[in-house]
Every structure is written in C-alpha cells, then in structure tokens.
Symmetry: C3
Subunit: 366 residues, 3 copies
C-alpha cells in the first residue's frame, strides 16, 4: 500500500469547506431536533428536524471514519466504514424495536435495499447517462459484488418463504430466523479477512481519491465518539416523532418504513453514489450503492434479530411481509441482469426509478 506511505498524517486539524458545512449544519439540526422534541413542535416538525439531524450525523460519522481509517490502511478503513457506517440505521432500528415498531423496522430494512438497488442506482444511471452517455459496468469486480449481494439476500429471504409456503416451518419462525441470522453473521465474518486485505469500498479503483488525512487522530476519534453518541440520542427522538408525524401526514406504517425511514437512513450513501456517477466514476458509484444491501443482509438484519432476542425487545424475525419479499426479489434480479448487461444507460435508470415508484405506490395503502 504505497498510498499510506506517501501521505503525511496531519498533526493539525485542517477543515475544508464541506467539513464546516456538515459540522455546522449537524450541530444546528441536533439543536433544532432537541428543541422541537422537548419544547413541543407539533407532529411533523420534530420528525423533520430529527431526520435531517440523523442524516448529517451519519455524514459526520462517515467523515470521521475516513480520516481515522487512513491510518490503518485502506482495507481496515473499508471494514470500519462497514461497521460504523450503518450505526445510525442500527440505532434507529433498535429504538424502533424497543417502541414495538417491528413492521416499520422490517419495512425499513427491505426499503433500504430497494432504495439502493432501484432508486439510487436508477438516479446514478440517469445522472451519469445524461452527462456522460452509456457508462460501463462490466468489470469482474462489479459482477463479483452483485453475486455476493444476490446470495446474501437469497439467504435472508428463505425464512419468509418457508413461513408462507411451508406450514411446518411457520411455527418455528423465531428459531429459524435466529439460525439463519447466525449463518449470515458467520458468512460476514468469513468475508472479513479478504475485505481487510482488499478494498471493499472500491477505493482501489479510485486513484483520484488519494488525499492525505486532514484531521489528527484525536480529533477523528473525538468527533466519531461525539457524532455516534449524538446519533444515538437523535435516533431515539426520530423514532418517537415518527408515529405522530405519520399520523398527521396520513402515511401508513409500511410506507413510512419502506420509503421515508429507508431513505433517511441511507441519505448520505445515496447522495455519494449519485455524485460519483455524475463524475463518471460509475464503477466506484456502483460498488458503494451495491455494498449497502450486502451489509443489510449480512450484518444489519441478522444483528437486529440476535439483539432483539438478547435484549428482549419486540421480537424481530426474518419473516418479512409477502410484498416486501416479492419487492426485494424483483429488485435483486433486475439489478443482477443490469450488471451482467455490462453497461448502463439513462433509460435503464429511468426504468429502475419507474419500478421503484410502482412498488412504493403499492405500499401507499399500508
């Protein structure tokens, strides 16, 4: 890894403009969320403020990990990003489970996968395609990521399929979900060593991205700890504000989880993926966007199942509502075909967004 040797670790913090924006806006949003939460801001305002705050804290966590991780080599950075990048989603899901909102959490897990595979990938194809024409996807790496994604999601949906079509298994859905969760976590653990060696976040193929760390280690660790702690609080407020807001806006639980929570929880990854496509770094954009569903299937969902069993929260199983299963299967198969196609056009992107719109609409009525 010659990249790390040529970089000089920052001794003094150097903030670039976007750092100031995220820090400033994040602090403001957390304050606004706290004020609207405790001073009474009606039904909708606390929800909006805490959603914005969660998103900005997620961005801050991502920045801190990036600054921190450069010191451990690119492989470790990827693993750190995998582990901590989903932290806000994990907090939201845990608080929602504590509040008994199992349906919202399940819809949000599948919704995150749908949003990444259909909406974000579609937007990336449209933006990239309109700016740069047909973009290439045909690398061994892209196909390898997509195959792992297909396999992970397939394993994750088996308990649902068994529940709905295999009567004897239905009575044992908790046991089956726990076994499958352990299998998924073991599979994730098996992929870790090669992730540590290679570069799961796609930085390998991204030679432009070779800037030295700008923050000294104490600042990166400090900001990471502060952002994570704040994210834990704000996630709680977000969940508390969710139900009244959905009631006021007349939005069903399923739609709220599938669309709103899912998009809020992935906002940063979403923006980054589209930005990269706009810069014609389509392979890197693809890796970022597809990596998220893999993490949801291999880590986030099984971890939540295990944690909800351990902590005695509302029992989360891997038995998703039938339409969630159908939707995720469609999304996965479509994405796989598009990847094997080897190139993306903006029309394919528009069609992906159309499929997302159609699926989201069908969840509008609860």
């Amino acid at each position: 890894m010659p990249a790390t040797t040529t970089r000089t670790a920052a001794e003094q913090p150097t903030f670039i403009r976007s750092d100031y924006v995220v820090l400033g806006a994040g602090t403001l949003a957390v304050l606004a969320a706290a004020v609207t939460r405790f001073a009474g801001g009606g039904a909708v305002l606390p929800f909006v403020c805490s959603a914005v705050a969660v998103t900005l804290l997620a961005s801050l966590v991502g920045r801190s990990v990036e600054q921190l991780g450069d010191r451990f080599g690119p492989g470790a950075t990827g693993v750190l990003q995998s582990a901590l990048g989903n932290l806000p989603e994990l907090f939201i899901a845990l608080f929602a489970l504590k509040a008994g909102l199992v349906g919202v959490v399940q819809a949000a897990l599948i919704g995150s996968i749908l949003a990444n595979l259909l909406l974000v990938l579609g937007l990336a194809f449209v933006v990239g395609g309109l700016k740069h024409g047909t973009q290439q996807l045909d690398s061994e790496r892209a196909r390898s990521i997509i195959v792992l994604m297909v396999l992970s999601v397939a394993a994750m949906v088996v308990p649902s399929l068994a529940h709905y079509v295999h009567t004897p298994a239905a009575a044992h859905e908790k046991t089956l979900s726990l076994i499958v969760s352990v299998v998924l976590l073991v599979l994730f653990a098996l992929t870790l060593p090669s992730s540590l060696r290679k570069q799961p976040s796609g930085a390998e193929q991204d030679p432009d991205h070779t800037e030295a760390p700008r923050w000294p280690i104490w600042l990166a660790v400090g900001l990471l700890a502060a952002a994570a702690a704040a994210a834990a609080f704000v996630s709680d407020w977000f969940v508390v504000a969710l139900e009244p807001a959905m009631g006021a806006l007349n939005i069903s639980d399923a739609f709220a989880g599938l669309v709103i929570v899912a998009i809020a929880g992935n906002a940063i990854e979403n923006v980054v993926g589209v930005q990269l496509a706009a810069q014609n770094r389509s392979e890197y954009a693809f890796a970022i966007v597809i990596n998220s569903p893999i993490q949801i299937a291999l880590v986030l969902a099984p971890l939540l199942v295990v944690l909800s069993a351990v902590f005695g929260f509302a029992s989360l199983t891997l038995v998703f509502a039938p339409m969630l299963v159908v939707s995720v299967v469609i999304a996965v198969i479509l994405t796989a075909f598009i990847t094997f196609d080897g190139e993306s056009t903006w029309i394919e992107g528009a069609a992906l967004i159309a499929v997302y719109a159609v699926i989201a609409t069908s969840f509008w009525w609860g």
Copy 2:
C-alpha cells in the same frame, strides 16, 4: 443516414409478388369474413376467416408503414411501426373489452409476450440453429433490449403481485393500475427521442435491407388508411365470432386468449422473426421478437387500461390471473438468461418451445 439519400422515392407504384399476394389474399379474407359473419357461417368458420383477415391486414399495415416511413428516415419508421404495428391488437382488445371479455384481453396480453419470448424465439432458434448451427446473440444491443424488456415487464406485473400478496393494495387495484399505466406510458415517452434517433427495428444492423420505397406516398397513405379501417371492422367480427367458436371447439376463455388470440394478433411479427433467423440474420430476428413484449408492456397494456377507464368499457386492470403472472415471469427470466448466454442453439429453441407447450397445456383447463 446516407441510405435515404441513395434511395430514389418511387413516383409510380411498383408491386412485387408478395405485395400482390398480401393485397389479394387480404381482400378475399375480408370478404370471406364479411360473408360468414353476416350470412351465417356457423360457429367456427367466421372466426377462422376473421382471424386470417386480421393477420393479413396486420401485414398490409406493416408494409404500408415501411413504404411510408422510409421517407422520414429510419428512426421515425421504427416509431411508426411501433405505433401502428400493434393497431390490430389494439382494435381486437378494445372490442373485446367492449364485449366484457376482460379475461380474454388479459390472457391475450400476457399470451403475446409468452408467444414472442418462448414460441417464436424458440422456433427462430430451432430453424436458425438447424440451418446455420450455433448462432451468436452476444451484442450490447441484444443485452440492452432484453434489460429494457425485463424492466418493463417487471413494472407491469407489480400491481398483480401487490394485489395477491399485499392485502391493503387489493382494494385499490384500479387506482394502482392507472398510476402504473401512466408511469409505463411516461417511460415509453422517455424512450421515444432515442428511438427516433437510433433505429429501434434493428434496420441499422441489417445492411442487406436497403431497397428503395416502391410505393408513392399517396398509395402508402391510402393503403394504410384502408387497411387500418378494415382492421377495425374485422377486429370487431373476430371478437364477435370468438365466443361461439370457443364454445363449439370446447376451448376455455383463458386458453383462447393466451394462445389463439395472442398468436393471431402477432402472426406477422412471428413469421418475420422466424424467416430472419432462417436467413441467419439472428440479431435482427431477436430485435424484432423482443421488441414486441416491450411494446405490450410499455404501450399496449397501459393504453388499454387508460382507454377502458376513459371510455367506460369493462374495467381492465393490470391485475392479471396468478398463473399469467407466473408464466410471464418464467418467460422473461428464461429469455434473459438465454440472451446473456450470448449464443443460441436449436436445443435451446426446442426447450423454449417445450416450456411454451407446458405452460399452454396448463391453461387448457380454463
């Protein structure tokens, strides 16, 4: 487009032998259909005559569009063909909806897709493979068409899936179908500009097909108008004759729509696709055969949903019978895998026909 400049527009009509055959046989078939329709021809004869007449009129429409379109450049011809090539199918479906035969129309829409993807593609593979050995399909263009087809059909079947597995959506199937139809039509409109520029009918890759227009513009327009008008009448007779004929032959509604109406409505495209494969123009054959399901999913089906709502006909939704959904999903996935395979053999063709036979058989009992 140098091709259009080297062509000299015909001032005098030049009829080749096949023109005479189609015109003559078409006129005879329309007369026979009229006679058997109004003079009483039993239960089966009017149906057979009107089916043959519809097929020949469809061929005449196709020829007129081809002669006409050459004047507007190849892109516009493709769009005209897209728009007018499905005219007979549209007429049949509208009259069938007026007669309340919603099940027949839905079965015919899916049956057209199945017939193209399984039967016609299978026949093309068998004929092409036996004559020319293994044929290549592995072009970016083929994969790009198939991806758009998969995406279109996926969006089209979501309302059905929502209806059967997502209870709250079932009560809103009309609204959901209308929304999805509008999304599909918008998607089609988005693909139009690039279709006008490129050549959707595959003529680009078909340098052998460079003959000058043989008919002057007044003849092409006149024949197009006459054929379209006749098609409207004969479609009506075809629909009127359908029910008694099916009763006499003891054929169920589902089978009639899925197999008989679907094959009659696509007869010309079917023959052309197989002929092209026999001439070893497998890429062009493939483009013709796969283009039809795209048009059904993006234009014909959503247009019928919108028109049936506007005109107050028997209400057509995009909620297809479950076995229709299952069949179309199988057909689409099989075709996609075969395309990504990159080559076709006659055994793959035989297997496609076997799958078609098996699916058609399962619809025999209603």
Copy 3:
C-alpha cells in the same frame, strides 16, 4: 476420435488400487446391509449399511460404464453414463414409490438438484478457491449447460405452479404431469444425438483423462450386471430401513428425502465434483455437477412419473410441495447468476453452502 485408436483394449483385467477398494468395500457393505436387514440390526444400523452399500454400488456401476464405454467412443460413454449413472437413484425411487413414500421421492428429486447446485458446487468452489484462488467458469460450454439446466427445471416446475396458482389445472394434475413428463422425455431424446456426437460428460475438455480401458469387455459387462442387480436389492433394503431409521432419529419425511436420500443417491458425483475442483479442473467439475440436475429434470423425474402410472405404484406427479418449488427456483437462479459471473471464489462457495444450510434447516420441521 483418434483417442480410441491410440488406446489398446485390455485383454486381461488390470485392477488399480481404487478398484480393489470399491470392490472390496462394496462387497462388505452389501453383506453388512444384508445381515443387518435380515438378522435384525435395530432401526438405524440397517439404514446406514444399505446407504453405504448403495453409494459404493453406484461407484462400481460408474466404473464399469467407464471401462465399457471407452470402446464405443466418448459420446456413447457419456450417454451410457447418463442412462446408468442414475440407476441406483431410479431403483431407490421406484421402491419408495412402491412403499407409498411419494413425499420422500419428490423431496429427494428436488433435494438432488439442491445438493448438486448449492452444496456440491459450493464445496467445489470453496475447495478449489482456497487451493487455487479465483477459478474461471467463463466458457461458452458452461453457459450453454446452465441454460439447458434452467430451461429443463423451468419446464419441470410448471405443473406445480399451475397446481398452486391456477385452480382449474389443479383438478387435472395427473394428466398435466404426464403430458409434461412426455414433453421432457422428448426434449431429452432430442438432445441425445448431439450428446452422442459431442461429449456430454466433459471428457473433451479433460485431456489428462486419456488412460486406456483396464478391464476386458466381459469383465466390464459382468461387473455392471452384478452391480446393477445388487443395487436393485440394496435399494429395496434402503427404502425398507428408511422409515424406522427416520423414526428412531426423529427426522421428518421431507428432511429425510431432501437431505439424506438426496445426498446418499448422489454421493459419488458429489465426491468427484469436489475432487476435480481440488485439482483445479474447475470447468470439468462444473460440467459434472450441473449435468446431474439436467438428468433429474429431463429423465429421472419424468420417467418416474410415467413408470408410476404404468406400474400402478403410488401416484407420482410433478406437483411438488410449494417450498420445494421455491427452493429449486432459488437454487437455479443463483447458480445461473454465478455461472454468468464467469468466475468462482471460495466466498461464493461459502455463500452457496450457507443458502443450502438455510433451506435444509427450514425443512427440518417436516
């Protein structure tokens, strides 16, 4: 075929060490199975002995066919292997049908496909990947085999889909199963000529495998006849011992068929596939492993349906339990995507094994 001319047919039998092992162990296992069967060996011991004996007899049948077939050229060997290699599975299924164990037979048919596509392929990827790094699969041949496999399995599962989602067809499941079986057998017959010409078992791509036949023809025929006859007896004992053993071990019928009978019936192919991957002959391993599901779908399953109707055994149809259909569809789609990926890694292998484990677990409860 110059290979056959350079080989000198053995006049005197030459036994290599593995011949002695298989012959000796096979004889012992058959004796042990007979003793435990008739002298009373409890519930579990007769089952284990007869399972081992069936496996070793399957290996002996394979060896005899290989020695015999070299005289008829490589194509005929492949067809002979196809025909006789599944003999033990056929015997077991027939005796099980005679004993009324329809559910076990159906689970074993699907279980064989699952075991090959998920477990054995997964093991082959893990062993091959850990020893040799990323292995290539990207040959026209691999994609061509996988497409035939997808098509065969698709045709085989249509009666199940029709049964569950298309009410009118459910009343005619026997007729539909018989028709589909005949279609599948015709499709198999159509593939025979090209199999006789080419080399279906993949020996073509395996130049290392050019040893001359070691056994004279009388010995090959004699051992084949003896092994087949013994396999018939031992299959009967295996089926008789199955139910008490499952009862004693508290294993459900579905799990017994899907996992235990399926793995026992395919043990030799399984071991050979993994061995070949370990020797970095990944293309050959792949051909062996994928060939088995094709034979099950095109020959074994339809033949059993026809034979059960002809002999008046417990009526076997192609209407499989829903979870069996779902599982085989998942396995087929996953395998197809992995093949089109063009290369295999040990992580993909681990993920395939994980999916197998998850599916097998969901059948644990009957």
